[in-house]
């Protein structure tokens, strides 16, 4: 039996070798840029100094993690990360499904394409540019909002929403939905395109209107895609789009807007605390793995076909 399998594999390789060859650059990419750097995680367990190097630095076990969890800045960053991620999950995830459902209801092909493109384009605008747009809108000095505000309430001071710690998380959520929801809806739009039209015809014969069709046909048909995306999204539960937060952040909003990634950036690159930032990054990855594996296990129990592995 084993001999047969070996022979079959050899035959497959011989037949498909161009395809195997084509995978090599991809494999090399992952090895070089994703697996080899994992060696650097050892810094999280060493008293690393940029001058002594990885090998010469003293091994300190979990002391760096102990120090990390005692830092007030990290506790704050962890709390903010979880809260912001939760907000984004509750808004961005359903928003992309909703967009896909609404796009599916548009009957004029040209208009549908126009709307879809308009929703996707913001994804390709960098966060720095988006911050520039926000600044032009919300700055109490030169922003459009200040002009409107002064016209409507000339006596009162124009609020600086960009420097309001109570508003910062909302700004993150709103700009995230504006920038990413349209792009994220592509997966669902593709899934919807694959639904058998006969299912809609049957529903119509049963008297279902557009809303009922969306609820009872479209959504169940794209359930597997939704669950897959959900599991993947939970894998990045502690990733809150570093570039977005860094671009929009300022000293006043640190209390509600400092996240693990910006904390790692500050401690690592600016303060040269590489061990500490590596430990924080490793912690984040460990949480991500736990979420992915845990969610997948739950999904597997409920609906084995929708699980990832």
């Amino acid at each position: 039996m084993q001999g047969y399998l070996r022979q079959s594999r050899r035959r497959s390789i011989k037949k498909m070798w161009p395809y195997y060859l084509m995978t090599l650059p991809g494999i090399a990419y992952f090895l070089v840029f994703h697996y080899a750097p994992m060696f650097g995680l050892i810094i999280g367990f060493k008293d690393y100094s940029i001058y002594t190097g990885i090998f010469e630095s003293d091994w300190v076990g979990l002391a760096v993690f102990d120090r990390l969890f005692r830092l007030a800045g990290f506790k704050r960053a962890l709390r903010n990360t979880v809260i912001i991620s939760f907000y984004k999950l509750c808004t961005g995830f359903p928003a992309s499904i909703l967009i896909a459902l609404l796009l599916n209801e548009l009957r004029t092909r040209a208009y549908s394409k126009f709307v879809q493109t308009s929703l996707i384009i913001p994804h390709f605008v960098s966060w720095v540019v988006i911050y520039g747009l926000l600044y032009a809108l919300l700055s109490p000095n030169i922003g459009i909002m200040s002009v409107v505000y002064k016209a409507l309430a000339p006596e009162s001071a124009v609020p600086n929403l960009l420097a309001d710690k109570g508003v910062f998380r909302s700004l993150l959520v709103i700009t995230n939905v504006w920038r990413n929801a349209g792009f994220a809806s592509i997966m669902y739009t593709a899934a919807i395109a694959g639904i058998d039209p006969q299912l809609y015809e049957s529903a119509q014969l049963d008297g279902a209107g557009r809303f009922r069709q969306a609820i009872h046909v479209t959504l169940p048909c794209i359930r597997t895609t939704i669950i897959t995306m959900w599991i993947l999204r939970l894998g990045s539960i502690l990733s809150v789009d570093f570039e977005q937060v860094l671009a929009l952040q300022n000293p006043v909003v640190l209390e509600t807007g400092d996240i693990i990634d910006t904390f790692v950036y500050r401690m690592g690159l600016k303060e040269a605390e590489y061990s500490l930032s590596t430990a924080a990054g490793l912690f984040k990855s460990a949480i991500a793995v736990i979420f992915v594996v845990g969610t997948n296990a739950i999904v597997k129990r409920i609906d084995a076909d929708s699980a990832l592995m």
Binding site: R70, L71, A72, S139, P251, E255, L269, E271
Partner: protein
């Protein structure tokens, strides 16, 4: 003909090889330099510097805010350049302890006579000297930030130069609401401020005797500046300015360059910064008003008259790394830059091309397009350690008003409890005092209670230990 062509070709190749061989013969010196404006990669002044020294100087220029990031990355990769900058006693000790820096004594004796003559006793008596070994050369320093006030606006409004906090407030209101530029539009503001250049925020603190960034003595202990007994008074003044719209309303988010542009186009009446910029290097080129603004300096003191300017400390150095392949060439380069000729070149450029003396020793005038300091810096002006020479060109070309600013500053220095060594616990403290300052200024709640909460948070998360350690260090160092 064919022979002639072959001969010509051979000649060209030979010449090319000769020039290549010349380049090869030049020792290469690399460096990491921070600047506020990046120059063109190849520029006239850099080329001239290489020509005059016979050194192939290859600096990596980075924005000021990116320097530590770039430095740390290079150090971690083991690819530090030949010449690096460092700051403060703790960093100096760290570099020396890890053998990153070369002791410079022998190199100075052999190749650094200009440096020895110019730096004098300060060469051997500074933070970067250990057991008589010199590890760093003082680079600039001795600078003050001073409060510039628009004299022409004061004259237009019939006001005197303010010197107390009450007068300051009165003038701020007049500058903001009484149309000091006389254009009939509400387009002026009292005070320039941006969190991206914290110096602009420190004037008010200094007026209340709070030296920003420096430890101070309080109740027999050494505490951080934000625990100074007058700190809340300064915050109250800030809040008045903010709430009445007397200062830049966008101070938390406005980029530094935008703030400067507003200074240059005549929006602000007061600006706190180094006079070498405000009334010297930027004047008149960057100011866009016609006629040009008339400026003077003042110091603001509260009723206690406690002083107004944070004491300068020589804490910025440049050193040669132990990985440097040509330490002799690196020292020769630094020595040349310290010389009168080298200082003129790196500060102002090539005489006759970039600048000319008005009268020898009475200031210079930048020529043609180089009157625009952006074009000047793009061509390498003020880039390659222009202040390495003490009392160099910078001091020789000060305008009278800049000289007045510095003289006034020296009479109004603030007391502090400066410590050379960084407390051990400092690296575990993530408290951000700038964030606290900004939050208290814009707070709509009980700012005193918020301040207390901030301080409690600081003390609980390592601040108490910091105070104990800093007090011990201060006692040991004094």
């Amino acid at each position: 003909m064919k022979r002639l062509m072959t001969l010509l070709l051979a000649l060209v190749m030979l010449l090319g090889m000769t020039s290549f061989a010349e380049d090869e013969a030049r020792p290469v010196v690399t460096a990491l330099i921070a600047t506020s404006q990046l120059p063109a990669e190849t520029n006239t002044i850099l080329t001239e510097l290489c020509e005059r020294t016979g050194i192939d100087f290859r600096p990596t220029m980075v924005e000021n805010t990116s320097y530590s990031q770039k430095y740390n990355t290079l150090a971690a990769a083991g690819t530090l350049p030949d010449i690096v900058a460092f700051s403060g006693y703790s960093q100096a000790m760290e570099l020396i302890e890890h053998g990153v820096l070369l002791p410079l004594n022998d190199l100075l004796e052999e190749y650094g006579q200009e440096i020895i003559a110019n730096h004098g006793s300060l060469l051997y008596d500074n933070l970067a000297v250990v057991d008589g070994k010199v590890y760093g050369l003082i680079n600039g320093g001795g600078r003050y930030n001073m409060l510039m006030v628009r004299q022409d606006w004061l004259d237009a409004l019939g006001l005197d130069v303010p010197t107390t906090t009450d007068e300051f407030l009165e003038v701020l209101r007049a500058f903001t609401f009484d149309d000091p530029d006389g254009d009939g539009e509400a387009d002026t503001l009292g005070y320039a401020a941006t969190m991206q250049f914290m110096a602009t925020m420190t004037c008010v603190l200094s007026a209340y005797g709070v030296p920003y960034g420096r430890p101070v003595q309080a109740d027999g202990q050494v505490v951080p500046y934000f625990m100074h007994p007058n700190y809340l008074q300064a915050i109250e003044f800030f809040r008045t300015m903010y709430q009445e719209g007397l200062m830049e309303p966008d101070f938390i988010t406005i980029p530094n360059m935008s703030c400067l542009e507003k200074l240059w186009n005549g929006t602000y009446g007061f600006y706190y910064g180094d006079p070498i910029g405000t009334t010297n290097n930027w004047f008149p080129g960057r100011y866009t008003e016609d006629p040009k603004p008339v400026m003077t300096y003042t110091t603001i003191e509260n009723e206690e008259g406690v002083g107004c300017v944070v004491k300068p400390v020589y804490e910025n150095f440049i050193g040669i790394t132990s990985s440097c392949k040509n330490p002799e060439a690196a020292m020769q380069l630094l020595n040349y830059i310290t010389s009168v000729e080298g200082n003129q070149l790196t500060y102002a450029g090539i005489e006759g091309v970039h600048w000319a003396w008005k009268e020898e020793g009475s200031g210079i005038v930048y020529l043609d397009k180089y009157a625009d300091s952006t074009a000047h810096r793009d061509d390498g002006g003020y880039m390659y350690w222009p202040c390495l020479r003490m009392g160099g060109m910078e001091r020789q070309i000060l305008t009278p008003v800049t000289q007045y600013g510095y003289a006034l500053a020296e009479e109004h220095l603030l007391d502090d409890a400066y410590i050379f060594t960084r407390p051990e616990v400092d690296k575990d403290i993530t408290f951000d005092s700038d964030a606290m300052l900004a939050s208290l200024i814009v707070s709509e709640g009980d700012y005193e209670a918020e301040y207390k909460a901030f301080i409690d948070e600081y003390l609980t998360n390592g601040g108490s230990t910091w105070i104990e350690e800093a007090t011990e260090i201060y006692a040991a160092e004094n």
